[in-house]
């Protein structure tokens, strides 16, 4: 597609429920990243995928968070047993890698509210 697409754009969920957030990267981009932006905060790295390599999960805050990327394209970020502190905007980005600036393009994000 023309840009990075994320869905849903907004999600309200009850504490304790599981949620899935979806990211469709730019076609041909080999790298995909997830970041989290909590209210009034900067962006925090969560996880990244590069081609067929094992993902870098070093930013995931707890074992309730997981992500997968199927077929080197679409990615899903799953949060199990959501807590109120999980409320944030979750941003996905893809990049072509290789270029000096990695050609980063961000999606518009999913705003998650845990009530």
């Amino acid at each position: 597609g023309a840009g990075v697409s994320q869905s849903p754009s907004n999600k309200v969920t009850e504490k304790g429920k599981d949620v899935e957030l979806r990211c469709d990267p730019i076609s041909g981009h080999t790298a995909l990243y997830w970041y989290r932006q909590s209210l009034g905060q900067g962006l925090e790295f969560l996880i990244y995928f590069q081609g067929n390599s094992a993902p870098d999960k070093s930013g995931l805050p707890s074992d309730r968070f997981s992500a997968e990327r199927t077929g080197g394209s679409v990615s899903t970020l799953t949060i199990q047993r959501t807590q109120q502190e999980d409320s944030a905007v979750y941003l996905c980005a893809s990049s072509s890698g290789g270029a000096a600036n990695y050609g980063y393009t961000f999606g518009s994000g999913t705003r998650l509210t845990v009530v």
């Binding site: 790298a31 905060q41 900067g42 590069q50 930013g59 600036n101 990695y102 980063y104």
Partner: protein, 110 residues
Amino acid sequence: GIQVEQSPPDLILQEGANSTLRCNFSDSVNNLQWFHQNPWGQLINLFYIPSGTKQNGRLSATTVATERYSLLYISSSQTTDSGVYFCALLIYNQGGKLIFGQGTELSVKP
């Protein structure tokens, strides 16, 4: 770990005024980038600037890698410049992940 600090945290300007935003970083520069997050949350890449100076219209950026800081200049500000400005270090040996500063929230008043 690598630290990225921005100042000021927020800034209010009258339309037409100029401003300078600062980004200090603790590590040698892999790749310093400036982003603008508009009021709708969309992050737009403004500059990739590991060193030197670049200009794009009313915006320009300078990075002095040896002194570990970067500056973003906004001249003749417009209301559409409002939003949050982030600087971020792209870490090549960690797959290109970005380490962001806390941002400068800019509000330009008509």
